[in-house]
């Protein structure tokens, strides 16, 4: 049985140079999946392929049993750089997306829905302001409202909080947990922030360093949702999970890069659920 969104053996090459290849993974309905890796492993390209903005050099994308080619309103994207139209107000930006989704909807209905979407992200009073008058966090909120207003089957996020300061990032992450963490919204996010991944994702895909990057393993987040930043670190399994990912990013992503082990296949990467050792001490190391 295929997952809701199935990524089947995609690759990206630039001439002789392979950025990544033989990538297989899936996102189940209602699941939140994060992909984590260093710069240069092709994270953004993967997201663009999922969004349909780029075509893979190999492999295919199957969503709900149908092969996907090209972008679709069913896969809404929250861009890293918010990508709002600066000549439109916050309301105008959301309304533009809504109009694309519902070409025949009355204007008043579009506006009401756009206002509702902005209210949802706490921007009720900033609806009539231009992006240039909004802070970075508010701009990204508009981007989130724009994507959510489409009621997409799948939400795609490309490091949506990486351009924000730590405080704003935390607030926005919490809001995203509130908005899409309930298990109803299928979502895929690119990130390089470990805590963000643990807070949001049900499964975390770990990528080795590029070039010729691959999926090293897929880690299941054992903590139940909705996850809450304030007590997350007190829950069993938190440190095991966090240390495992940090270890991976610091050393293993580099050690595992390049050569693929004998008999390795992209279709069958290890699935791991880190658990606390008996001593309840943080894990020291896990052999590469």
């Amino acid at each position: 049985m295929r997952p809701y969104l199935s990524i089947e053996g995609i690759a990206r090459r630039y001439g002789e140079r392979t950025v990544f290849r033989d990538l297989w993974f899936g996102v189940n309905r209602g699941e939140f999946v994060c992909l984590i890796g260093h710069s240069g492993c092709g994270k953004t390209t993967i997201l663009n392929i999922l969004a349909g903005l780029e075509a893979p050099d190999d492999g295919a994308l199957v969503m709900d049993g149908h092969e996907v080619s090209g972008p679709s309103l069913d896969r809404a994207v929250i861009f890293q750089s918010h990508a709002l139209y600066p000549w439109l107000t916050a309301l105008g930006n959301v309304a533009f997306a809504l109009r694309s989704r519902h070409p025949k909807m009355p204007k008043s209905e579009i506006e009401a829905r756009a206002r509702a979407a902005l209210t949802l992200v706490g921007l009720k009073d900033a609806a009539d302001q231009k992006p240039s008058e909004l802070s970075g966090g508010m701009k990204q909120r508009v981007g989130i409202a724009r994507a959510l207003s489409l009621e997409p089957a799948m939400l795609l996020m490309d490091e949506p909080f990486s351009a924000l300061d730590a405080l704003t990032r935390g607030t926005l992450q919490d809001e995203v947990v509130g908005l899409v963490g309930g298990g109803k919204q299928t979502a895929f996010m690119i990130t390089h922030d470990v805590d963000e991944a643990i807070l949001l994702a049900d499964r975390i895909i770990l990528m080795t360093n590029g070039p010729d990057a691959r999926i090293a393993e897929i880690v299941t987040n054992p903590m139940p949702r909705p996850r809450d930043r304030t007590n997350l670190h007190r829950q069993p399994g938190y440190y095991a999970l966090r240390n495992h990912i940090v270890d991976f990013l610091v050393t293993r992503s580099r050690l595992l890069a390049g050569t693929r082990p004998e008999g390795w296949t992209g279709r069958d990467v290890p699935h791991i659920t880190p658990t606390d050792p008996v001593s309840s001490q943080p894990l020291e190391t896990i052999a590469p």
């Binding site: 969004a51 861009f79 990508a83 139209y85 600066p86 694309s100 240039s132």
Partner: protein, 280 residues
């Protein structure tokens, strides 16, 4: 207090420069003939022989007098060689706006196509590069021969000189639309028409308007020269006609009005440009 002072400093200085300039002008063209201080009766007796010191150039007062006359009656029409300045400026403006408008109708869609299709852009680029630096007046004989109408030829010349800056700027603006903005439109499955009108056009509008502003400036420069060639009506013809009349005061008045109208056109497009300019 200091702020009030600085706000007035530039206009005050401008006024001072104007006064100094007018004074220098007055001084430079003052009557220095030997008859200047004479009793008029005696001067008449002395004859024309000594009456040679007066400059042929008008004084600021002469020009002001002409200006006052023009303001009082701008639209009189006493035959082909004697029309009010309002009428002459009107003819020039009509030609410029017509030629400029036609140029915009051609240049903006074509610029869009060039900006959106890089291959097409590269294909027509050599032609643009060759035609762009040609003085618009060089087209005049060809226009007169083919169109056989001096007025339409003048409009054609305005068209041809206005087209290039708008074409190049539109293509540049359209080609420079951020990839992420286009990507947003793609993920929203926006139709080609809607994308052109509601994404690319507003994104490129400031650049397009910059091109329009350059174009109208060039058009206003060229119309004076074109009207000197084709004759009949217009502010350029007026200036040339006053040269034939040896009325330097009228020529100076013409120059002043050409400058003022040119400034007004530029300001108008500047205002329009700032209305469509967005800030990041």
């Amino acid at each position: 207090m200091g702020r009030v002072k600085s706000a007035w400093a530039a206009p005050m200085l401008s006024a001072l420069i104007l006064v100094l300039f007018l004074a220098a002008w007055q001084l430079a063209v003052r009557d220095t003939s030997p008859t200047a201080g004479m009793d008029p009766e005696y001067a008449k007796l002395m004859g024309a022989a000594v009456n040679t010191g007066k400059s042929a150039l008008p004084t600021p007062g002469d020009v002001a007098g002409k200006l006052w006359g023009a303001i009082q009656d701008p639209f009189y029409d006493h035959g082909p060689n004697d029309k009010g300045l309002g009428i002459q400026l009107g003819y020039s403006l009509a030609r410029v706006l017509l030629g400029f408008g036609l140029a915009a109708l051609v240049a903006i869609p074509l610029g869009f196509a060039i900006g959106m299709a890089p291959v097409f852009g590269a294909a027509v680029n050599p032609f643009i590069q060759v035609l762009k630096p040609v003085s618009p007046l060089a087209w005049m004989p060809l226009a007169l021969y083919t169109i056989k109408d001096s007025n339409k030829s003048a409009i054609f010349v305005i068209f041809i000189c206005s087209v290039w800056p708008m074409l190049v700027n539109t293509a540049f603006g359209v080609a420079g639309v951020r990839r992420e903005w286009l990507n947003v439109a793609r993920t929203l499955e926006v139709s080609a028409w809607r994308r052109a009108l509601f994404v690319i056009l507003p994104a490129a509008a400031p650049t397009i308007f910059t091109g329009m502003r350059i174009s109208i400036g060039i058009a206003w420069l060229v119309i004076v020269a074109a009207e000197m060639l084709v004759g009949g009506t217009g502010i350029g013809y007026f200036v040339w006609n006053q040269w034939n009349n040896l009325s330097l005061a009228d020529i100076l008045l013409g120059i002043l009005l050409i400058g003022l109208v040119g400034m007004a056109l530029d300001r108008l497009l500047g205002l329009a440009a700032s209305a469509v300019t967005w800030r990041e």
